[in-house]
Every structure is written in structure tokens, then in C-alpha cells.
């Protein structure tokens, strides 16, 4: 014990004595996500790696930031997630929590972060509530939300002429929210919703629901679910000849990890909206290949979001010179970014990050040149259009 304190002092002395005149700032980031369940592949350890890459790429050490990264599994349970978040803030000195997929957990952690002087840099969750009904001054919602997905997929498909929709919806908050958002978009674009069915979460067998969807006579079956549920639904739709019989599928929330699991044979032609794809430009390719070396898979948009959010956060900490949550968030909101992964964008006063979204179509096996060569870009949805407008109650600019 004595020895480690002595060593620590020596190290600090060496550090401060040589290169840096300024004091180091200790920053502790907590990556809280699903490490074992449905969302473990799209977030999980990959997000921890992304956060670590951000710290390295930022050259945190040279800039006088001493960054430590913690990680934990919230098991997609709000109570588990809340407990970890509270303990992190109270006992581990965590300054910001990253990722937090599963909307119910994210909303709980957003509240705790606000109460306990932390910041939630959310990448994994989709609920628009994070920056609408249940917004908080210390929540920053980086990557996507259900409204943006609905906008991308719902509007593009309806305008392309397939205007009768049937929804297959996961029976929990996220599914309902995704369904509702998409219904609004479809109806605004002149489409019609002919029905919907709510399936238990999680579910393995979708044949029954798919047959109900088939009987509805809809042009498009919208899958308002996520992860393994979406994968199974798509797989079984192809098995039951639903796509062959002329109906098409729209995955309202799908990640590249899911498409990879399905393989292009099953997923081809599927349209979906994402905020990031590894093969968009040289910068995304460079970063993604570094990521793949460490994780054996291409990054999802959630991983990319964790990286960019951590970057932007660290820039703010460096500029402000402390981890005071109000000052850091104010700096993040005041300064727009030009990010290698998300391009140009900014954090809106309500915490919603505004950047472009993309509509992709899954390539046919013949056009795919590799395991991860999966998407063809169909459209760009400008950030201002993709996300919901800010509501007055969530405009925190006056306080900032």
C-alpha cells in the first residue's frame, strides 16, 4: 500500500516536472451497455474499444488529460443500469457515461446523470424522449433516434410508391415509439397504415405474425423491433415466401451487425437507415479498419457514435480545463464539430446531435465483394430534416 502511493507520487512528480507545466485533469468515462444480451454485438465491448480509441486519437495524455475508462453490463434492465450509474458517480468519480443502449435504461441513467453532476453521452438508445419529453440539460444524444430512422426509411419507401404499411412491433417502449414515429411519417408522406401486430420481446418465432401481416394486403411490412428480433423476422419472412410474393420489408432499426448475421442472401434488397457506414469515405475506412483490427468486426454506428461523442467531450474538457458538467456541456453545445466519422454537425440546445443520416439498401450477394461489403447508399437525409424539431421545454440554451 505504502509503496504504491509512493510510486504514484513519483509518477505524478515525473509527469509534472518534465513535459507539462499545467496540472493534469483526471477524467473518468464509464461505458455502460449491454455486454451479454441482444445488443451486445452492436454496442458491448466494441463501444469500450471505440472509447479507448478516442482517448488515444485525442492524445489525451499529451494534452494533460488523465483518462480512465470503466465498463459495465446493464443487462438491458433499468434497475441494474441505474444502480451502476449511481455507484459510478458516487464512488468511482465517473464524469460521463457513454453509450447506454435500451431506451428504458438510457432514460433512467439520463435522470441520474443530471442529478449527480454527470453527463450522458448516449449513442446506443433510440428513444426520442431523451431530448423531448424527458430531456435533461446534461443529456447528449449522439447517434440516432427513432424519429430519424422513421424519417429515413418511412418517407423514402412511401414516396417510392409502396404506401400501404403494416407494422410488426416489439411490445415495449422502444417498439411503440418507433411504430408511432414511422406511422406519422408514412401518413405525412401520403401513405396508409393498414394494421399492426405487437409481438412479445424478445421473440424467436415470427411466422404467426408474418402471416397476419401477409394477410393484411400491405405493400410494406415495417419491422418496429431490433437486434435478434429483427434478424429472426427477416429470416422467417424469406422462408415463408413473403418477400417473394411482392411484399417488401423495412427494418426500422437495424445495424450492420444484424445484416452481417443475416448474410446478403437473406437480407438483400432490405432498406434501412443508419448514421454511419464504414465504407463511406477514406476517413471512415481508415478508422474502421483500425477498429476491426482490435474487435474482429466492422464498427456499428453505435460504436462510431461512442468514439465521436468521447472525442467531442474530451475537446470540451480540454478547452474548459475541468470536468464540471455544466461548463463542459455548454462548450460542447457552443462549438460545432467536423468529425471524421459523422462529418459536420453540432449539438443542439436540447442535447440532440444534428448530423446527416443515410438510407442504405442491402446489396445482393453477387454485388457484395466481401464479408462486410453490405450496403449501397440510396439517399442522404440532411440532419435538420432527419431529427425532430426542438421543443421549447427542452431548450436549455438560456440556462447554459
Amino acid at each position: 500500500m505504502m509503496r504504491s502511493i509512493a510510486l504514484g507520487t513519483a509518477a505524478v512528480a515525473a509527469l509534472t516536472g518534465t513535459a507539462y507545466a499545467q496540472e493534469t485533469i483526471d477524467v473518468t468515462l464509464g461505458v455502460l451497455n449491454d455486454r451479454s444480451g441482444t445488443y451486445a454485438d452492436l454496442s458491448g465491448e466494441g463501444s469500450v474499444i471505440a472509447a479507448r480509441m478516442a482517448v488515444e486519437d485525442f492524445n489525451a495524455e499529451e494534452k494533460g488529460l488523465n483518462v480512465e475508462i470503466l465498463s459495465a453490463d446493464h443487462q438491458n434492465k433499468p434497475d441494474v443500469g441505474s444502480n451502476i450509474a449511481r455507484q459510478w458517480y458516487e464512488q468511482e468519480g465517473v464524469d460521463a457515461i457513454l453509450d447506454v443502449p435500451t431506451s428504458s435504461v438510457a432514460l433512467a441513467v439520463a435522470d441520474i446523470s443530471n442529478q449527480m453532476g454527470g453527463v450522458l453521452l448516449n449513442s446506443g438508445a433510440g428513444s426520442t424522449e431523451l431530448t423531448q419529453g424527458q430531456c435533461a440539460p446534461t443529456t447528449i444524444h449522439w447517434t440516432y433516434d427513432t424519429a430519424a430512422l422513421a424519417k429515413g426509411t418511412g418517407q423514402a419507401i412511401t414516396e417510392a410508391g409502396a404506401d400501404k404499411w403494416y407494422f410488426l412491433t416489439a411490445d415495449y417502449a422502444f417498439g411503440h415509439s418507433l411504430e408511432e414515429n414511422t406511422m406519422n411519417v408514412v401518413e405525412e408522406a401520403g401513405g396508409e397504415v393498414v394494421g399492426s401486430v405487437r409481438h412479445p420481446f424478445p421473440a424467436t418465432d415470427f411466422s404467426s405474425f408474418l402471416l397476419q401481416a401477409q394477410a393484411s394486403g400491405a405493400d410494406v411490412i415495417g419491422l418496429a423491433n431490433a437486434g435478434g428480433d429483427t434478424v429472426n423476422a427477416i429470416k422467417q419472412a424469406s422462408e415463408f415466401g413473403i418477400t417473394q410474393s411482392g411484399q417488401s420489408l423495412a427494418a426500422l432499426l437495424m445495424f450492420i451487425s444484424d445484416v452481417h448475421a443475416l448474410s446478403p442472401e437473406t437480407a438483400q434488397g432490405l432498406q434501412l437507415t443508419e448514421a454511419f457506414y464504414w465504407d463511406q469515405n477514406d476517413e471512415t475506412r481508415e478508422w474502421s479498419s483500425r477498429f476491426e483490427e482490435r474487435h474482429n468486426a466492422k464498427p456499428t454506428m453505435v460504436h462510431a457514435g461512442v468514439y465521436s461523442a468521447a472525442m467531442h467531450y474530451l475537446r470540451a474538457v480540454e478547452a474548459v480545463g475541468s470536468t464540471n458538467n455544466e461548463e463542459v456541456v455548454a462548450h460542447m453545445k457552443a462549438n460545432s464539430f467536423d468529425d471524421p466519422l459523422f462529418g459536420e454537425g453540432y449539438v443542439r440546445a436540447d442535447g440532440r446531435v444534428i448530423h446527416d443520416m443515410y438510407l442504405f439498401e442491402v446489396k445482393a450477394p453477387a454485388d457484395s465483394e466481401g464479408e462486410w461489403d453490405l450496403y449501397e447508399q440510396k439517399a442522404v437525409i440532411a440532419g435538420e430534416e432527419a431529427f425532430l424539431p426542438m421543443i421549447d421545454e427542452c431548450d436549455f440554451s438560456s440556462e447554459g
Binding site: 441482444t38 418465432d205 411466422s207 404467426s208 405474425f209 402471416l211 435478434g228 415463408f240
Partner: protein, 295 residues
């Protein structure tokens, strides 16, 4: 055209058939549990993990050795059965003189370990496994499009269930098994190697889980959690049918598949709980289960 509670008969027929397909998995899995419980008196909590293993072994055979579905259907249950053999010899057999609870805890722990390992190596999204060429496509039955593979699932499960029932109820080997279930000491005193029989029975029950896993591989994604969700339902099926009753496990499996299928049409939100509601009712009215021999 007449409708039943607003549901056209074609849709109803389709849903009944789908229920039967799901019931096929319930039947094969609950049968394995019942066989194991009958002789070992152990509630095999690793059954779901062993079902998952079956799917993964099939996938590995294909990916690493180029061995296709039909061989996997035979080999994977053997491999999974062999792991069961090892588990029984090294661990379960040490617990027979203790309360049943210990066996349950052990198998539960084993399930967590197996699932954790596979999650670690293969992630959660699942691995693709294609339907064998000969069973791709399907039949238009008028009221629904029945994929050939699903029809095969029903046929294969009926064959396996009936075969197992026949073996246990009608053969000499089955007579040993039934006798050992009642009085293992006396059966041993007749010169029969009861420990070996117990070991092989466990391997067989576990092999059935592996078989179901291979059947499931082409239609559900092969992922480390595929058994974890299913197994809870299957336990409910076994409880409803009556622990240790072979025919009970089979019939309840198919029956509950159909009931669940119907719930998906009439009240989809309830389809996840209907089996548990039935379980609660059965436990109140007939605690030993519908086909149970009594406690």
C-alpha cells in the same frame, strides 16, 4: 364466409399449423427433460444451453468441416450427447446423494458458463445457417404457404418423439429404464449397471436437446442465447404435462404450441404469457400436472 371471432378460417388453419410447428420444438425439448427427470430426478437447467450447442455444432460442422445438414442431424446430437456424458460422469454423478436442488444449481451454472463462452467467442448476433437445398421452397396449401422445411420439422419431431416413446414404453431397454426410475437399488441388485444406464439416459436426453437445436438452426438464428429464452417456456410445458411423464411431455408440447399459436391471433400481446397462465392454473387444480402419476 363464416368467421370465428373475426378471424377467417384460412388464417385460423394457418395459425394452427404454425402452432404445431412450434409445438414440435417444445415436444422434443420437454421430452428430453422428462426422460432425464424420470431417471435422474434432476431438473436439467442446462437443457437450453445444450439445445444451443446442437445448433452451434451443426454450424461448426458446416463452417469448419464442410459437413452439411443431414450429417449434422446425426452427428450434432451425438456430440452434444457426448458432452452430456462427460458432465454426468464428472459432476452430476457426484450429486445424486444430495438434494435435487444441487443438480439444478449445477446444471444452471453449467448453462451460464456454456452460454457465456459462446457469447464471448461468437457474439450475440448469431450465425447464418441455410435451409438444405432439398427442403427449400414450400407448398401453397391454399390457406397458407407452408415452407417445406417447417413441414420437415413436424415430421422429424413426430418421428423422434414416437421413437423415444416406443423405446421407453415398449422395449426391454425401456423396461430397465422404467424399473430403475422406480427402484434403482433393486434393479442394480439384479445385475444391471444402473450408473451406466443413468449416464446414457442423461446423454440421450441431452442429445434430444441437441437434435432440436439442429432442427432450429436453419429457421432461427444460431446464437448463444437461442436456448435461454426457449427453455423457460419448455419448463412450463413440462410442469403442465407432469414431471417425468413421457407421453405427457410430448402431448403437452404439441398442445401448448397450438394454444400459443392461437393466442398470437386473438391476443398477440398475451402470447408470451399464455403458457405460464396455463401453468399457474394447472398447478392450482392438478399440481402433479395433466399427465403426472401423482407425487
Amino acid at each position: 364466409m363464416f368467421e370465428l371471432l373475426g378471424i377467417p378460417p384460412q388464417v385460423l388453419m394457418g395459425q394452427l399449423l404454425l402452432g404445431l410447428i412450434n409445438g414440435s420444438f417444445y415436444a422434443v425439448l420437454s421430452l428430453g427433460l422428462a426422460v432425464i427427470f424420470g431417471l435422474l430426478n434432476i431438473i436439467n437447467f442446462s437443457h437450453g444451453a445444450q439445445y444451443m450447442l446442437g445448433g452451434f455444432v451443426a454450424w461448426m460442422l458446416l463452417t469448419y468441416f464442410g459437413i452439411g445438414y443431414w450429417w449434422a442431424l446425426i452427428l450434432a446430437p451425438l456430440v452434444v450427447g457426448a458432452t452430456g456424458l462427460v458432465l454426468e460422469r464428472l459432476a452430476l454423478s457426484k450429486l445424486y446423494h444430495l438434494d435435487h436442488l444441487y443438480g439444478l444449481l449445477l446444471t444452471f451454472g453449467v448453462a451460464l458458463i456454456i452460454q457465456g463462452l459462446f457469447r464471448n467467442y461468437y457474439g450475440i448476433s448469431g450465425q447464418p445457417y441455410q435451409i438444405p437445398e432439398i427442403l427449400s421452397g414450400g407448398q401453397n396449401l391454399g390457406f397458407m404457404f407452408l415452407p417445406n422445411y417447417r413441414a420437415w420439422v413436424v415430421v422429424a419431431s413426430v418421428i423422434v418423439c414416437f421413437g423415444t416413446w416406443f423405446m421407453i414404453e415398449k422395449t426391454r431397454l425401456g423396461a430397465y429404464l422404467r424399473a430403475a426410475t422406480e427402484n434403482p437399488v433393486l434393479v442394480g441388485a439384479f445385475g444391471i449397471n444402473v450408473p451406466r444406464m443413468i449416464m446414457l439416459t442423461y446423454a440421450f436426453g441431452v442429445g434430444l436437446a441437441g437434435f432440436a437445436g439442429v432442427l432450429a438452426a436453419p429457421i432461427y438464428s444460431v446464437n448463444p442465447n437461442m436456448g435461454a429464452d426457449l427453455i423457460i417456456v419448455v419448463f412450463a410445458v413440462v410442469v403442465i404435462g407432469g414431471m417425468g411423464s413421457i407421453m405427457g411431455a410430448i402431448l403437452t408440447g404439441y398442445g401448448l404450441g397450438v394454444i400459443e399459436g392461437l393466442t398470437r391471433v386473438f391476443y398477440p400481446e398475451g402470447s408470451a404469457v399464455v403458457i405460464f397462465v396455463i401453468m399457474a392454473i394447472v398447478l392450482m387444480i392438478k399440481p402433479e400436472g395433466l399427465f403426472g402419476r401423482g407425487a
